[in-house]
Symmetry: C2
Subunit: 114 residues, 2 copies
DNA sequence: CAGAATCCTTGATGATACTG
DNA sequence: CAGTATCATCAAGGATTCTG
């Protein structure tokens, strides 16, 4: 799993985008929000096109940044659930706003975020 | 100037992040907002660490995406001013909140976004 | 002043196979 | 099921120089 090297943020906007930017972070946070809780495999199916490597890596980064909680059940077969932290939940109204903004401008291909 | 190859967005959240993600877009939009209007050179000084190539490239992408207006004055020396479009202004509350969210979490190094 | 042109580096992402 | 482990690629970003 490749390590991510975020350079020191030069301001709060920079800081924030370093944490929720990237190809999949927005969608991951949003999808977990709409389902309240999601398992690894469910995320894998929701985030179209993501590889297991990128999913794991991105989930770990979000966890380290205090945006989501990873709950492991010691069962066979394995079960891991992901939920949002309070910190991440504070972003939801605004990601929602962003979603509507994007929706207005997508024009042709209207595929809904789940 | 390298071209950016955004793959087709799979949903509105994806679409939005493709447009305002990237290393400098958030800061550029925010700085123009706080100053109402900025010239190329002023942006160059505000966006710490950016190279002229990246600044030009990013500004053009934002322009193509209908987020900012580039006004050229036919004078010598040259003068170019950048302002936000209405579409971009709709994003300001989002970026502002993101800024506060980031500010709360930055801890040690508190550098203000201009 | 506001950039364009070139060349180059590397980090983000992808493909595939494997495992407790 | 929920990941790891490798290896490969490629586009985002950087350094530098030049110009109308």
């Amino acid at each position: 799993m490749t390590k991510k090297l975020n350079s020191d943020p030069v301001c709060a906007v920079d800081y924030a985008f370093q944490r929720i930017g990237g190809k999949y972070k927005g969608r991951i946070i949003w999808y977990i929000h709409t389902h309240t809780v999601l398992r690894y495999g469910e995320l894998k199916r929701s985030i179209v096109g993501i590889t297991p490597k990128m999913l794991t890596q991105t989930l770990r980064e979000l966890e380290e940044d205090g945006l989501l909680i990873r709950k492991v059940y010691n069962e066979v077969p394995p079960k891991v659930e992901y939920t949002l932290t309070e910190s991440a939940k504070e972003l939801i109204p605004f990601i929602d706003h962003l979603r509507e903004w994007g929706d207005k401008r997508m024009g042709n291909y209207k595929i809904n975020c789940q």
